[in-house]
């Protein structure tokens, strides 16, 4: 009965590869997010989707492409991975665009070697 689930939990890959992280929420929320947490634990918003539409797109390289097939899913695809992409990526959701609190998944630790 996990609320926000991400897969995989750990991902180790070589530079230049393309990888995807999947996220699903069963809370019935309309809005989903991707956050990046770097090695110093700084947390930054990357993207936000509301009902499958992109509403927040922070300054993120276009190698990162979110995809939302439906409002319960928000996947993150990363092309041409670089060493600096190594981080923990969190998916989150909230009731709507006006809901200020977010519910987070357990994170995906991405290591690029």
């Amino acid at each position: 009965d996990t609320a926000v689930s991400q897969t995989p939990k750990y991902l180790v890959t070589q530079m230049g590869n393309d990888k995807s992280i999947k996220c699903e929420q069963n809370l019935g929320h309309d809005t989903m997010y991707w956050y990046k947490q770097d090695s110093k634990k700084f947390l930054k918003i990357m993207f936000s989707y509301n009902n499958k539409e992109l509403i927040i797109n922070e300054t993120v390289p276009n190698r990162f492409s979110p995809k939302s097939p439906d409002k319960a899913h928000l996947n993150l695809h990363i092309n041409s991975l670089e060493l600096g992409d190594s981080a923990v990526y969190f998916c989150a959701s909230s009731r709507g665009t006006g809901a200020t609190e977010a519910f987070f998944g357990q994170g995906t630790r991405l290591t690029v070697v």
């Binding site: 634990k41 930054k44 509301n50 927040i56 200020t100 357990q106 994170g107």
Partner: protein, 115 residues
């Protein structure tokens, strides 16, 4: 622009001792304030939030926080810390009817609990 400062990068307390984690914010209107906890290897979990009303808010796991507008602070407290409280704590500020993605997080405070 809104901002959040958590002055203490790392705090160590003994089990059973009281705890206070500091959070200062900058926001032009009435802020929405949050404390999240991140246990090792886990995602962030909301401890408590303040939108309006009583300035002392109670949260989960025995935590409370007090909103002080005059000091632009929202400090988190717990009277008696348990070893399981060792974690990273994030303060965040947002605004009414604003997407959670627009909330600004502090840089976090790492709490270590000594036996």
């Amino acid at each position: 622009a809104q901002s959040v400062t958590q002055p203490d990068i790392h705090i160590t307390v003994s089990e059973g001792a009281s705890l206070e984690l500091r959070c200062n914010y900058s926001y032009g209107a009435t802020p929405y304030l949050f404390w999240y906890v991140q246990s090792p290897g886990q995602g962030l979990q909301l401890l408590l939030k303040y939108f309006s009303g009583d300035t002392l808010v109670q949260g989960i796991k025995g935590f409370e926080a007090e909103f002080k507008r005059s000091q632009s602070s929202f400090n988190l407290r717990k009277p008696s810390v348990h070893w399981s409280d060792a974690a990273e704590y994030f303060c965040a500020v947002g605004a009414e009817n604003t997407n959670a993605g627009k909330s600004t997080f502090g840089d976090g405070t790492t709490l270590t609990v000594k036996p």
